[in-house]
């Protein structure tokens, strides 16, 4: 039986590319035909950019969808999904567009496929405004494991903005059983470290970053790591990791031109401190990323910071596909409890 097409307003809330990606994931998994209007209406360059088009095309390929409006700068798309097919895929993304965002878009669908998938990605692996490869593998996938799925990733080459050229592969096994995810308590801090990733940039940059972290957080030398990697273009980021009994949080900061090493490290430290000083179990970014896999599986609940516009918009989009999937309850000033009703509850 065919479902009727639903219309999503791409300009709601923060009005960015996330509305498109979340809608595509849900459309694929729920076999729900959709039309998205006003795509990225409020942005400087509205409509579909290359990285968004790549997401649409990747989703289309995986579930053999019929698509209209899949053109650059198009302000709408119509997406009618078909059967999801596991298998081997390769997605190359121009302009160092984030591979992790494409990965997160197609992941829920491939988890539902009948067979195992091997997906290789080419493009950006460490971009600003997108989860880094480190974050995906060390934080997001760790939490996902608690829901059920097992995804194995392997990085062959780093790809920094703006030149990209990174390469990695994800092996996605279809989900068998799912569990409710409950993250209401961090548990004890088990480990912590600061790692810099650096390529084709003088090493003193990374050393200054680590020095700043050590100085600000009083971390010891054996908690500081420097990882010189290979990539096509130059790049650098600092990644602060906190491992708790129940969750792993990462605080990444990608270095930018015109920003001193100390400032980059300082920004990462501020994010970490905000988290540490709060009662949140799940950090701002992970909170956003978990909504979708939880809603499509067994649901659950977690404690996080006061939700950003980004998270709220994401929740609203999900609720449009699945009635009352997500409820957000404010506990106190910077503490919020999110309860997700999964469809496989």
């Amino acid at each position: 039986m065919k479902k009727e097409q639903i219309t999503i307003d791409g300009s709601q809330g923060e009005g960015g590319g996330q509305i498109l990606r979340t809608s595509l994931s849900l459309s694929m998994c729920l076999k729900q035909p959709i039309r998205i209007n006003n795509i990225r209406a409020g942005r400087k360059k509205p409509g579909l950019l290359r990285q968004h088009l790549t997401c649409v095309r990747a989703a289309q390929e995986i579930c053999n969808a019929t698509v209209k409006g899949d053109e650059l700068c198009s302000n709408f798309i119509e997406f009618t999904p078909g059967e999801i097919n596991g298998g081997e895929y390769r997605f190359a993304i121009g302009t160092a567009g984030s591979t992790s965002l494409v990965f997160q878009t197609i992941l829920p669908a491939l988890l539902q496929a009948a067979s195992k998938s091997t997906v290789s990605f080419e493009g950006g692996t460490h971009n600003m405004q997108a989860p880094s490869y480190e974050f995906i593998t060390k934080s997001f996938l760790k939490a996902l494991e608690k829901i059920g799925p097992k995804v194995d990733c392997k990085l062959e080459r780093y790809g920094f903005y703006p030149n990209g050229g990174g390469q990695w592969t994800a092996e996605i096994n279809p989900i068998k059983e799912t569990k409710r995810l409950k993250l209401l308590d961090r548990g004890d801090l088990v480990a912590r470290n600061a790692t810099t990733i650096i390529s084709k940039i003088p090493l003193h940059v990374s050393q200054r970053e680590l020095k700043k972290v050590a100085q600000k957080l009083n971390w010891t030398a054996n908690e500081l790591f420097e990882n010189e990697v290979d990539s096509i273009g130059p790049g650098n980021l600092i990644s602060l990791k906190l491992v708790y009994e129940n969750t792993v949080e990462l605080f990444d900061e990608v270095a930018q031109r015109g920003l001193t090493a100390e400032r980059v490290a300082g920004k990462a430290v501020s994010s970490l401190k905000r988290y540490m000083n709060s009662k949140a179990v799940v950090g701002e970014h992970l909170a956003d990323q978990l909504l979708l896999p939880m809603a499509l599986n067994a649901g659950g609940s977690y404690i996080t910071h006061a939700v950003s516009e980004h998270v709220r918009t994401n929740a609203n989009v999900i609720n449009q596909f699945i009635d009352d999937a997500i409820s957000i309850t404010e506990i106190d000033n910077d503490t919020v409890k999110i309860v997700v009703n999964g469809i496989n509850n």
């Binding site: 950019l49 088009l53 019929t66 121009g94 302009t95 703006p162 030149n163 990209g164 015109g258």
Partner: protein, 540 residues
């Protein structure tokens, strides 16, 4: 096949770009990724996908081209890079660059139905940019101009791009200039007007050859307004374009050269040569040295000046007024006239040897009336000319055009001043047009105006009937033989020019009065005038 999917497929984008031998060459190590490289950056734009990049490069830069191709594969897997080798023997030499790029435009298989073309003008020498501009503007490269620039300090490597859609109306002037270069010499001489008159076309064809091969004088005969000055100007420009002439174009209407001044205006004078010659004057012949001198209405030139001109033509030197040393000037002479020169020679008013010298190549420009089949293309030409001048397009509505054409090609339209009349007529109608449309009402008014203008013209010219009408009224004139009309015209003219009736009589009867016993010239004149019911006082 799913129809929806086909229809949603948009055109592919192809960029044509020259390999930047400086901007794209930033070394082989990773540092090159820190630099803005236009051909890489144009493939990195987040709101544009370059499906094909046609990279024009010289043979010596094959390696660099390969590197650029590889780097593009990294940043833009969607892009296919094609090489096209060019050979700019000198990248700053207009001719070499233009011909290479022109050859490319002719050899590349453009598919404008399937692909959009962007012509990238950021790389290459300025000469190459100009050539790309010209080829795009004239649609030899059927695309839009495309420009990239580096970004800000925090992200210099990707930068920005701009697509420049040539709004032709803004570039009319440049376009028309380039257009003129493209048309062949023949079309050039015809101002690009598609003339249909066989005789005229043949004449122009020969004129083109002669003007490009010969430096000898030419004589162009044609009625007033037939376009002599225009044509000579274009001959000059054609010769100038082909590099055959370096000097100036000097136009002189001999009818405006009067008396002593004619001599000094043409040939110059030394300081103090005559009263009032406070400063030395170079003269127009010297001004035209190495260039082209157009002497219009040559028949009006005085005999002294003719002799001097002949010498200047034959010796390429002459003696300015009051000077004791000859000066040299090497110019090409084109003479214009609306007279029958042979007749003027017969009358002793023009030197036969000078005519022989200047009519080596002699062309008769037909009047507008004589090549009325060219009226319509010339009408369009005038409309365009007006549009360019004013910056607004002017056209007839259908009915108005038909009406105007019908009148213009009928026998009622005399087109007395030829193209000058046509030009004025179009200017009037175009000026009166509302929103650039010439309506039937405007044409009606214009036809009346033209008729009046040509009739008034008759009155001012020596038309005996019109003068008779003026003097004795239309009814009276109807009663007169043409012989009498001429008689009246002549007599009235003499009367006007005379102080008294006796004076006029003496002139009119100057021969017969000698054999008369009594000379009563006034009486004889009075009798003649009485025949027309006129008196001397009425005429004077």
């Amino acid at each position: 096949m799913n129809i929806d999917m086909v229809s949603s497929e948009s055109k592919k984008t192809t960029v044509v770009s020259i390999l930047g031998t400086n901007l794209d060459r930033r070394g082989k190590n990773a540092k090159r990724w820190d630099k803005w490289r236009p051909n890489i950056a144009l493939c990195q734009q987040e709101d544009m996908i370059v499906d094909t990049l046609v990279l024009l490069h010289e043979e010596g830069f094959k390696r660099l081209a390969e590197q650029v191709k590889q780097d593009i594969e990294t940043v833009s897997p969607e892009t296919e890079v094609l090489f096209h080798q060019v050979d700019f023997s000198d990248p700053w030499d207009f001719e070499s660059v233009y011909s290479q790029l022109f050859d490319f435009s002719q050899s590349y298989q453009f598919k404008p139905d399937e692909e959009d073309y962007l012509i990238h003008i950021t790389t290459g020498t300025h000469v190459a940019q100009i050539c790309l501009y010209l080829l795009t503007e004239t649609n030899f490269l059927p695309g839009k101009l495309f420009q990239t620039s580096p970004g800000n300090k925090t992200n210099p490597t990707v930068g920005r791009y701009q697509i420049i859609d040539l709004d032709l109306s803004c570039y009319d002037q440049i376009a028309s200039r380039f257009n003129q270069e493209r048309v062949s010499g023949v079309d050039y001489l015809k101002s690009g007007i598609e003339t249909r008159n066989l005789k005229f076309n043949k004449m122009i064809e020969q004129l083109e050859k002669v003007s490009l091969l010969s430096k000898e004088p030419m004589l162009i005969t044609g009625a007033t307004g037939a376009g002599k000055t225009q044509l000579v100007k274009r001959i000059f420009e054609l010769k100038q374009q082909r590099g055959q002439i370096t000097g100036k174009f000097v136009v002189v209407n001999c009818a405006t050269l009067l008396g002593d001044k004619a001599m000094s205006a043409l040939f110059g004078h030394s300081k103090g040569a005559f009263t009032g010659a406070a400063e030395a004057r170079k003269g127009l012949l010297k001004e035209a040295d190495g260039g082209l001198l157009f002497l219009d209405e040559i028949a009006e030139l005085g005999l002294d000046e003719q002799a001097m001109l002949l010498r200047a033509l034959e010796e390429k030197s002459y003696l300015p007024l009051g000077a004791d040393k000859e000066i040299e000037s090497d110019f090409q002479l084109i003479a214009g006239t609306n007279n029958n020169m042979n007749k003027i020679v017969a009358e002793g008013k023009f030197r036969e040897d000078l005519l022989a010298r200047i009519n080596l190549w002699s062309y008769q420009l037909p009047s507008l009336k004589e090549r009325i089949e060219d009226f319509e293309p010339n009408l369009d030409f005038e409309l365009n000319k007006f549009a360019k001048k004013v910056g607004q397009l002017v056209s007839f509505n259908k009915g108005a055009r038909a009406k105007y054409m019908k009148f213009a090609t009928s026998s009622a339209a005399s087109w007395k001043a030829n193209f000058r009349d046509l030009n004025s007529s179009v200017t009037r109608m175009a000026t009166l047009s509302e929103g650039g449309r010439i309506s039937e009402d405007i044409v009606d008014d214009e036809i009346v105006r033209l008729k009046e203008c040509w009739n008034n013209g008759l009155q001012s010219v020596n038309d005996p009937r019109n003068i008779a009408i003026k003097l004795v009224g239309e009814e009276g004139a109807n009663q007169l033989d043409l012989f009498d009309q001429y008689l009246l015209m002549g007599v009235s003219q003499v009367c006007k020019d005379s102080k008294s009736m006796a004076d006029a009589g003496r002139k009119l009867f100057g021969v017969s009065r000698l054999s008369k016993k009594s000379t009563n010239d006034s009486h004889r004149l009075k009798q003649v005038l009485a025949k027309f019911d006129l008196s001397f006082d009425e005429l004077n």
